[in-house]
């Protein structure tokens, strides 16, 4: 298939536009999505194409408009709700956790909630404590939801299309700092299945697992390690719930070592979950304990020195890989 290089935000836009052309039950709702063309210009031009019935500006009322979207999903529509960032979606957590995720169960299978909640997640520079939380593990803890967290334009488009077509509520996480990044995306239509991890770089000595913008750290570390003759296999989870641990397991059977890089806080994180699964399923294959690099066990501070100390980075990842290969000291 022919492809071209487009920005992350364009890939997301294409996914929404194509699905809205395909299915008139799909609409987009959120703060500044219409007239302002999106706080991060993801929805640029969509108001023009679809009109204000389907590209809807809301006031700053996250709980209110999320509730309305959840109700609309119960009653036959397929909303896409954009949050300016996931930090602000905390106000809607009641609707996502207490309503959307539980409707099907509570109604004995009668009433579902086909809805996509999407927006940028995690830190984005020196934005201080209230604008910097990475929420994948929090939402992944909720049965009834699916959670996707993407790292590049190709995956973003294919997975967002699948999310919009999915009949269950999907939490879809992007990143402010990646919207301008470019990548190859096919001309024609394609879908990427939810729940499938992707080996982004094959290798034999160690398995590195990551997702969202921390994939840059994992791939960067693999690059550094290659210079020293260490071959790291890098896996992008892409979907957090359901977690494709089988792909990780297959890799670990080959490399016998696992390091996870994520932006979550450490307690009850994706690495905690994955470490449990891998020690259970691959205990006899492991040549070293499963290790991880997370954000610090703290809110993110503003100062540049403290941002640097807070986030996972390539140097620390390289070092940890070496520790897990017993190459240090």
């Amino acid at each position: 298939m022919a492809s071209r290089v487009i920005q992350f935000r364009e890939a997301l836009r294409e996914a929404m536009v194509e699905e809205m052309r395909r299915d008139d039950r799909v609409f987009l709702m959120g703060e500044e999505v219409a007239e302002y063309n999106g706080a991060y210009k993801v929805s640029q031009g969509m108001l023009e194409e679809f009109g204000s019935k389907r590209v809807i500006d809301t006031p700053i009322s996250e709980l209110g408009f999320s509730g309305i979207a959840v109700g609309a999903a119960q009653n036959g529509l397929r909303p896409i709700v954009e949050y300016m960032t996931w930090n602000f979606a905390v106000l809607s957590l009641d609707q996502i956790l207490n309503t959307a995720s539980k409707l099907l169960a509570m109604s004995g299978g009668q009433v579902g909630c086909p809805i996509v909640f999407r927006g940028p997640n995690g830190s984005a520079g020196q934005l201080g404590a209230q604008h910097s939380t990475a929420f994948e593990n929090l939402y992944a803890n909720i049965p009834g939801l699916k959670v996707i967290s993407v790292s590049n334009p190709y995956d973003a488009k294919g997975l967002l299309k699948s999310a919009i077509r999915d009949d269950d509520p999907v939490v879809f996480m992007e990143s402010e700092v990646m919207y301008g990044e470019k990548g190859e995306v096919p001309e024609g239509e394609y879908l990427i299945p939810i729940g499938k991890a992707d080996v982004k770089r094959p290798g034999t000595d160690i398995t590195l697992v990551s997702f969202n913008k921390m994939m840059k750290v994992a791939l960067g570390a693999a690059e550094e390690l290659a210079k020293e003759g260490i071959s790291a296999e890098v896996i992008d989870l892409r979907t957090i719930r359901p977690l494709d641990w089988m792909t990780v397991l297959e890799s670990v059977k080959k490399t016998n070592r696992l390091v996870i890089v994520e932006e979550q806080w450490p307690f009850g994180s994706i690495s905690s979950e994955l470490a449990y699964r891998i020690q259970k399923e691959a205990f006899d294959y492991l040549d070293a304990p499963v290790r991880r690099i997370t954000s610090a066990d703290a809110p993110m501070h503003y100062a540049p020195t403290l941002v640097a100390a807070y986030l996972p980075d390539i140097a620390r990842t390289v070092n940890l890989v070496k520790e897990s290969m017993y190459l240090n000291k």
């Binding site: 703060e31 500044e32 007239e35 302002y36 706080a39 500006d57 006031p59 700053i60 009322s61 996250e62 709980l63 209110g64 930090n87 602000f88 905390v90 106000l91 520079g125 020196q126 934005l127 201080g128 404590a129 209230q130 604008h131 450490p266 307690f267 290790r291 991880r292 690099i293 997370t294 610090a296 066990d297 703290a298 809110p299 501070h301 503003y302 100062a303 540049p304 020195t305 403290l306 640097a308 100390a309 807070y310």
Partner: protein, 338 residues
């Protein structure tokens, strides 16, 4: 409940009051202009929201309250923080992310705090400070003081659900709080008209039978009078008031907003009513304050801002060891270190 705040006799404020207003507003203006410049030079990072145009609110609120009265606001917090007495030096250092900043460089532009100055932040989630603002008042009532909480929020924040629960509780318990909606007509790119059927935000008070008032926010006198009235009621046990103070931000929402959603003419219209120019005119024409006296103030302000920048420049960044400090009060909290 509409109560007109038109000052019947605007000349009844003293010369000293106008001098104080002028110097304070000029300081806020120059501080923000400098912050804008330094943001362009990447000395200041993250989100940065300037207070330029809204200074009369800070001025009027200061003369209508006492130092013990707690203030709390959103992320557009530089002006109120400085007004409340946090030094320009420590505010500028905070913008730089330096250890000498008013939040030790940990908060940044959106999270200025000054416990000593009774300034309770600097909050980044729109509407998030409205409940806590009433909570400050609850504590004053509980402790038996007659202090009054001034709780600031934007026109955009007025559309968050929390406002209704907080108004109801504040009225139910007659909390000593003045809710101040700084209506600058826009929440990012969204004008007030596009957010509700109720354009007069002060009318939201009606649903709770709370006194509500619309105020000219370009006039320090009008702000003072309406806030003084509301504060008096709260001090005497009369409970909360909602003041919708109509103002304007001359700059974009934050440093990254080109503000294409409004016209140049609209901005100019407000600049013609600039509160600093107005106060200066008052001083010169009604109080015969001399050119030299004005120049002295201007110099003082200029110096204060320059000194603040130098202080921020020369201060150190927080050490990486600060990462796990100020997370818990408990000194030996067992963090997950891996």
């Amino acid at each position: 409940m509409f109560v007109s705040t038109k000052t019947k006799d605007a000349t009844r404020f003293t010369k000293e009051t106008y001098l104080y207003w002028y110097e304070l507003m000029l300081l806020l203006r120059r501080f923000e202009e400098k912050a804008g410049q330094l943001y362009g030079m990447q000395k200041i990072r993250g989100f940065c929201h300037l207070y330029i145009g809204q200074e009369a609110i800070a001025a009027g609120c200061m003369t209508a309250t006492r130092p013990e009265d707690p203030f709390i606001t959103a992320y557009r917090d530089h002006g109120l923080a400085i007004a409340k007495g946090i030094s320009a030096k420590s505010c500028m250092a905070e913008l730089f992310g330096k250890a000498t900043g008013c939040s030790k460089g940990k908060g940044g532009s959106m999270h200025f705090f000054g416990h000593k100055e009774r300034f309770f932040g600097g909050h980044g989630i729109v509407g998030g400070q409205i409940g806590p603002g009433a909570g400050l008042a609850f504590a004053e009532q509980y402790k038996g003081t007659d202090n009054v909480s001034l709780t600031f929020f934007g026109d955009g924040a007025a559309r968050q659900g929390v406002i209704h629960e907080t108004f109801n509780l504040a009225m139910l318990w007659k909390l000593p709080v003045v809710f101040i909606c700084e209506n600058n007509y826009y929440a990012m790119g969204t004008s007030v008209e596009r957010t509700s059927n109720v354009i007069d935000i002060y009318k939201l008070a009606d649903g709770y039978e709370m006194p509500g008032d619309s105020v000219d926010g370009m006039s320090p006198e009008a702000v003072h009078e309406s806030v003084a009235r509301a504060v008096k009621r709260a001090r005497e046990g009369g409970g909360p008031t909602l003041l919708e103070i109509k103002t304007y931000r001359y700059k974009g929402h934050s440093m990254s907003d080109p503000a294409k959603y409004r016209t140049k003419e609209e901005v100019e219209e407000y600049k013609e009513r600039d509160p600093i120019d107005y106060t200066l005119g008052k001083l010169q024409n009604e109080f015969q304050v001399s050119e030299e006296e004005i120049e002295k103030i201007n110099e003082r302000v200029k110096h204060e801002v320059e000194e603040a920048v130098q202080f921020a420049e020369e201060s150190p960044f927080p050490d990486a060891s600060e990462l796990l400090k100020d997370i818990y009060v408990q000194k030996d909290y067992p963090f997950i270190m891996d």
